[in-house]
């Protein structure tokens, strides 16, 4: 059974590249394109891992993360923040909200993301 990855990413091009790369690795991928719709869709998809952007239309990634962690069925799902915000305070804030890992898009490649995701399923 394919592992399910959920991507919250507003940039259309980045999203399609990521989806393409992950599907190539055999993952089942679901997406949300903004913060407001993310939580409902995540609950519906009940993914094995979540890739979360921080700067989003509507609810910010931080708020989505907070909501993921505070209630219900997806409370324990691993979340990797994948953003271009990368200041120390952003990272600290995300850590305090219970993120599992933090990658800065421009400094990593999709291969790194694939490696990171697969490390959660070992």
């Amino acid at each position: 059974m394919a592992k399910k990855v959920f991507i919250v990413e507003d940039d259309e091009f980045l999203r399609s590249l990521t989806v393409k790369r992950l599907e190539k690795e055999g993952y089942q991928v679901d997406v949300a394109v903004d913060g407001d719709s993310a939580l409902g869709k995540i609950k519906e998809a009940s993914p094995d891992i979540i890739l979360l952007d921080l700067l989003l239309p509507g609810l910010s990634g931080f708020e989505v993360l907070k909501k993921i962690r505070e209630d219900g069925p997806v409370k324990g799902t691993p979340v990797i923040v994948f953003s271009n915000l990368g200041q120390r305070e952003d990272i600290e804030k995300a850590k305090a909200l219970g993120v599992n890992d933090f990658l800065i898009k421009a400094n990593f490649t999709l291969d790194d993301v694939v490696m990171k995701i697969s490390s959660f399923f070992k």
């Binding site: 091009f13 590249l17 790369r21 700067l55 271009n84 800065i104 421009a106 490649t109």
Partner: protein
């Protein structure tokens, strides 16, 4: 002589005596009067002088009041100018950080695309295509590096609040960084050497991420500006462990193009790029060493260099030891 004339004589002499007495009295009076007069004059002079002083004091007082008024106006102007400067500074910081974040998103997209194409995840490519894709990727990565530098310079303008100091084992850090540079060094047949240092070196007090930036920058420069078959050596000097401010010194020596007298003056300036460096690498940001100096100084260390045109450059920097 007629005896009768005696009383006359005595009368005359009496008159003379009283005249003399009167005269003396008059002199005394006159003298006394004279004294009084000079005293009065002195008093008048004194009074005039005092009046003058009072007037001068009043004038000084008025001047002071005027100066105080001018000063408080100036103070107001200064504080509002200061306020404007602070707002400008905030706006600049915000502008740079927003721009750099916004720039990194499309840059990431380009980088990933190149990567996927190069790794043949989107199908086979010809050697020619591979070469050009590789060039595209290299340029994109250079641009990301510059954006990252701009972002860090923008932050370093602010404070050292963003620093998290901890005990960093310097030799391990340098080993791991040198690992990243073996392949670029190898492609220029440059030998990249870490001189063995004393066993059990104490840790330095540093922000690991920031220190990594400094070391990467210095080693990257050393390799970039050293010709084929040259040498880059890194040494950790521990000869200053027992002073009142114990520290470790890192020395990065290359056999590269060296620094011209002009470059020596300006090498740590923001955006400065030496002409000889531009000739080797046209696209640098001129920020690397500026940032390195800022970071080392925020650690309480020092950074300096020795160089001769054409003979190579030696960079030194010091870091205080970690104290529990």
């Amino acid at each position: 002589m007629d005896l009768f004339s005696l009383p006359t004589f005595s009368a005359v002499s009496l008159e003379i005596v009283s005249a003399i007495i009167l005269l003396i009295f008059g002199f005394i009076l006159g003298y006394l009067f004279q004294v009084k007069k000079s005293q009065v004059k002195a008093l008048v002079r004194e009074a005039k002088f005092r009046a003058g002083q009072i007037k001068a004091l009043e004038e000084i007082n008025q001047d002071l009041e005027a100066t105080t008024r001018r000063l408080s106006t100036k103070e107001f102007e200064l504080s509002s100018a200061n306020q404007r400067l602070r707002e400008l500074e905030d706006a600049k910081t915000k502008f740079v950080s927003v721009t750099t974040h916004q720039l990194r998103t499309p840059l990431a997209a380009i980088k990933w695309t190149f990567f996927m194409l190069l790794n043949k995840q989107l199908g086979e490519i010809t050697p020619d295509q591979q070469e050009f894709l590789q060039k595209g990727l290299t340029s994109t990565e250079r641009m990301i590096k510059i954006v990252n530098e701009l972002l860090s310079i923008n932050l370093s303008d602010n404070t050292s609040d963003a620093y998290q100091f901890e005990a960093v084992p310097l030799e391990n850090l340098i080993k791991s960084i040198l690992g990243e540079f073996y392949s670029p060094a190898q492609s220029k047949q440059i030998s990249l050497i870490l001189k063995p240092s004393s066993p059990n070196l104490p840790s330095v007090r540093a922000d690991q991420g920031k220190l990594r930036m400094v070391l990467e920058n210095l080693i990257d420069n050393a390799i970039k500006y050293t010709g084929k078959s040259g040498q880059v050596t890194v040494t950790i000097d521990d000869s200053d462990l027992n002073s009142s401010h114990p520290k470790l010194e890192v020395i990065i020596r290359d056999s590269g193009i060296g620094l011209s007298p002009e470059a020596k003056q300006k090498i740590f300036q923001k955006f400065y790029r030496a002409p000889e460096a531009v000739a080797v690498e046209p696209d640098g940001s001129g920020l690397g060493l500026f940032i390195a100096k800022d970071i080392i100084e925020k650690h309480g260390g020092a950074i300096w260099f020795e160089s001769n045109d054409g003979v190579g450059t030696v960079f030194h920097f010091t870091l205080p030891l970690f104290q529990k």
